[in-house]
Symmetry: D2
Subunit: 282 residues, 4 copies
C-alpha cells in the first residue's frame, strides 16, 4: 500500500448568499482507503455531504452568506492499485458488456466520439484489440498533441483537440475517451490529485473498461500512474467539476498539496519508476 497526504485550500469572496457544491474530497473504495480526513470551513453553516451511487463521487454543499469563505480539505489515503499484465487484458465484446456501463460508450459534451468513427477506425481500427490498443491511443495523443498550459478553456472539446492538437490534461483525457468510445471501448473521465504535478493542481486522466475492469490511462505522462488519487468520476469533465457555484462568487485562491508518506514502502520502488503493468484503482 502506498500512502499519501493531500489536500486543498480554497478561498472565495461571496458577494451575495450563494450555494457551492464542491467535489474535492477523495473517493473511498477497495483500492483507495481514507485513513484520515478533515474538512474545515470558516463558515458557521453546516456542510451537507452527498455520495453518488453510480460513481461514489462525494459532493459537499455549502450555502454561504456574503463574505469571505475559506475551505480546507486534508486527507491521508492508502492506495493499493490492482496490477495486471497488459498482455492478458482484452477488450470486452458488446455481447458481454455489462449494460450499466453502456453509457460510457455514448458521446458526451466534450467527447463527441460519434464524429470520430472514421478517424479512429483509420488510426486504430487495425490494431490488435486489448490494453495495448488503448496504450496506442495514449501514445498517439502524447505524440500528436502538445501539452501547453492555458491553451484551452472550458469549452474545448475532443474534436477541437483533434483539430488543434494542443491542450491540457483534461483535453488529453477527453481525446482518449472519445477515441476509445469510437472503438466501442467504454471510457470515462477521472479527476483527482496527482503526486508530483508541478505546479500542483487538480489533474485529469481517463479509464477504459477492459477485461472486466476500469484500467487507468494518462496520456499526459506527467506523473506516475501509482500517484493518482481519485476524486471525481464521470462521462467527461462536465460531470466532474471540482466546484459548481450558484451565485456571484469569486475564487481568490486555490492551493493543493500532495506528499508521499514513506512509512509504507520506499518510494523508489513504487512511484518514481514507471510501471509497465496495467493499473486499476476502481
Amino acid at each position: 500500500m502506498l500512502k499519501y497526504e493531500l489536500g486543498c485550500e480554497l478561498t472565495y469572496s461571496i458577494e451575495q448568499a450563494s450555494t457551492l457544491i464542491l467535489n474535492v474530497a477523495i473517493v473511498s473504495n477497495n483500492h483507495q482507503i481514507i485513513v484520515q480526513e478533515d474538512l474545515h470551513s470558516n463558515s458557521q453553516r453546516s456542510i451537507e455531504e452527498y455520495i453518488t451511487s453510480v460513481s461514489g463521487n462525494r459532493y459537499f454543499r455549502l450555502n454561504a452568506p456574503p463574505g469571505n469563505l475559506q475551505i480546507s480539505y486534508r486527507a491521508t489515503v492508502g492506495l493499493s492499485p490492482y496490477y495486471s499484465d497488459p498482455s492478458t487484458i482484452f477488450e470486452v465484446k458488446p455481447a458481454d458488456l455489462p449494460l450499466d456501463i453502456l453509457y460510457y460508450l455514448y458521446p458526451s459534451r466534450y467527447c463527441q466520439s460519434d464524429r470520430l468513427l472514421r478517424f479512429v477506425a483509420a488510426e486504430f481500427g487495425h490494431l490488435v484489440p486489448g490494453y495495448s490498443r488503448v496504450t496506442a491511443i495514449c501514445n498517439w495523443i502524447y505524440d500528436n498533441v502538445l501539452y501547453l498550459s492555458g491553451s484551452s478553456d472550458s469549452l474545448t472539446s475532443a474534436c477541437d483537440t483533434a483539430i488543434e492538437r494542443v491542450g491540457v490534461c483534461r483535453d488529453f483525457a477527453h481525446l482518449g475517451i472519445a477515441f476509445c468510445r469510437a472503438l466501442n471501448i467504454p471510457a470515462r473521465f477521472v479527476a483527482g490529485y496527482a503526486y508530483g504535478l508541478n505546479p500542483p493542481d487538480f489533474h485529469a486522466w481517463f479509464e477504459a473498461y477492459l477485461g472486466g475492469r476500469w484500467y487507468l490511462f494518462d496520456p499526459t505522462r506527467l506523473v506516475p500512474q501509482s500517484g493518482l488519487i481519485r476524486v471525481g468520476t464521470g462521462r467527461d469533465a462536465a460531470d466532474v467539476s471540482f466546484a459548481t457555484i450558484f451565485g456571484p462568487v469569486q475564487m481568490n485562491q486555490m492551493r493543493l498539496f500532495m506528499d508521499y508518506l514513506p512509512d509504507a514502502k520506499p518510494i523508489s520502488e513504487n512511484i518514481l519508476i514507471p510501471t509497465t503493468e496495467a493499473i486499476a484503482i476502481s
Copy 2:
C-alpha cells in the same frame, strides 16, 4: 387512467454476427402501468433485458447471427398523469436541489448549456421563475425554430439549432434542455411513443425538474401531452438511442403504431383537448 396500445416492428439485415441493444420497450412506473406486453423476434437466440437503476430504461440485447432479423414489440399501457396547477409550481433553489439530479444541470453532448449562459440570461433571465418560465422557453422555441423533417442529423446540437433555427423534435427538446440548464433548472431528455404523431415515429420531448417533480414539456406542440408514453430517459439523445448496433447491420424497416383504447374514458375529454395543467409522468 388513459389506455393505449402501441408498438413497433423493426427489421434488419445482419451481414455478420452482430449485437443489437434496443431501447423500444416502455418504462413501468407509478404513472405508466404496463397492462400487457409482448416482445417477439424471429431469432432463436434469447434476448437479455436490462433495466437501468437511474432511469428505468429497458434495454434488450440480442446477439444476432447473419440473416434477416425481425423484432416486434407490442404493449398495452395505462397512463395516469399527475396534474398540477402551473401557477403553484416553483423552481427549486440550488440549496434545496436533491444532489442526485445535479447531473441534469451539467452540459451534455447535444445540450451545451455552458455556451448559452448569456443568451439565456438575456432572453429568460428576467422572467418570474417557475413553471411559466419553462413554458416561455417552449414558446420561444416554437416561435423561433422551424419544425422541418430532415433538416438536422445525428450531429446536430442545441447550439446549432440556436443558430440555424430549424430542426425536428429531438432538436426542440435539446434546445429546451440547454436553455433550462443554463437557468439552473435541471432538465432531461425523454424519448417515447406519441399519440397522433403523423407519420408515426419515435418522438422526443423533455422534462424539467420543478417543485420536486419532473414536469413534461414538448415545444413541438405536435401531440397532446397526455399522449406521451415514456421509453427512454437520459441527459440527451446520446443516452436514448432506440437502437445501438455493433456490427454490419442494415435497418430495412421501422413501423410504429399507437392507438387509444376508449374503454377507460372518452378520448375527447382527455386527449384531444390540450390541457392548461402541468403534467408529470415520472
Copy 3:
C-alpha cells in the same frame, strides 16, 4: 491542344420575380480558349454578363419573372495545359510571394487553416518543400477521407472533414486548401467541368501556388487532370457558387455534359493515361 464540348441545362420554377446570378460559363485565359459558346434562355429578359478582374469568373445575372426558366449553356473549349517536371517546382518563400496572392494564405469560410497549424506541421511539416509536398497532402486526403456522395452539405468545412473523414469533391478541395495554407502555401478553390465524371456534375478541385504558378491538384482522383475545365476560382466554395439566387426559386433540373473532341489528338495519349507531370491551366 485538347478539345472538349461541354455545357449544362438548368431549369427553375420562379415563384415571384427573382434575381439569379449564374457562374456556369467557362473562363477564357491563355490555357483555356473558348472556341465557340452559346448561352440560351427561354426568358425575354436580357442577361447581364460580368467578368471579375481578380479571377476572371464570369457571372450572368438574370432578373426572371414568375414562371418557368430554362437556361442552357454550351461551349467548345481548347485546353493547352502547361506541363512541368514536378521535381523542379519549389515552394515560394514568404519573402518572395507576390503580395496580391497573400489572400490565398488566409483562412476562409470552409478552409480554417488557422485551426490546423499544429496538425499540418506534424503531418507534413517535415516533408521536403515543393510540389511533392502538396502531392503528399493529396495522397493523405485520398487515403484518409472517404469519398461518399451525400455525406456532406453546404455547411461542411475543412475542420469537419478533418474530423469526420468523409466528404465529396468540394470537401476534398477544402481540406487540401486548408492544409496548404497552414504550410504557408497559397491555395485556392476551382469549380468547373470534369471529363468523365459519373454521374455528370460540377466538379471541384484546388490550385496551389508553387514556383510562380497555380498548379492544379485533385485529391479525389476521380478524373484525369487534363480533363478539368475552369469555371470559377475563389478562396473556397463560398466564392464559387454556380447559382446565387435571390427570391423564391426552385431548381427543377440540372444536366451537364462534357465530350472529348478527338479531332485534335487521340484521347488515349492525353486523357486516359494519368500524367506524372505537374499541370497548370492558369
Copy 4:
C-alpha cells in the same frame, strides 16, 4: 475636414531570419487624405510596400534578420466623411448590385451568414429595408452582446458570438457583417485607428453597402464614428491582420496613439457629439 495625428510602435524579437507583412499604414482615398507620413525601422533592410487594387490596403513587407526589430509608423491624416440623411438611404436590390461587390455577400471565415438565414429573417426580416435596418442590427448587437476584453480569441466567429453573446470589437463587427449578408446586404470588415479608444488599440468596425456607398457602422459605440481612420478593409478579420508573420518572431510591445489636431475645427462640433447622420468614408 477633421485632422488627426496617429501612429504605432511595434517591437519584435526575431529569433531567426523571418518575413513580416504589416498592415498598419492608413489608406489614402477621397475621404481620407494623408497629409504627412513616416515609417521608420531600426533595420537596414528595405521595406517593400504593396497596395492592393481591390481594397487599397497597404502592406509593408520586411525580411528581418535575427535580433530586435523596431517599427514606428506615424501619420497626419485629414478626414472628410461623406454625410447623408439616414432616411434617404435604401438597400440595393440584387438586380442592381454592382457585381464586383458580390463577394461581400458571401460567407467568410468569421462571418458564416449561411448558417444565420432563419435567425436573421426572424429578427430583422420584417423591418423596413434601408440604413435603419442596419442600425437595428447594430442596436441588437449592442443590446445583446457584452463587450468584454479578453473574452474571445482569434478563432471566435460570428456564430460563436451569436451563441455566447460576448466579445470584443472584431466580434461585434463580424456579427454585424454576418447579419447583413444574411439579409442580402453586402458588408465588409474594416480595421483602423479610433480616436478616444481606451486603452489605445487597433479597432474594428464594419461597412454595409447601401444606396450605392459603403456606410460605416460600429456596434460597439466605443468611439465617435468621425474618429475612425481606415487601415485595412476585407471580408472579415482573416483578411485584415495588422501583422502576418512568417518565422519565429515574438512581439514584445505594441503602442498606438491618436490625437486630434484642433487647427481645423473645434473638436466639440465634430467629434464628441455623436452624429445622427449616416457616414461614409470610402
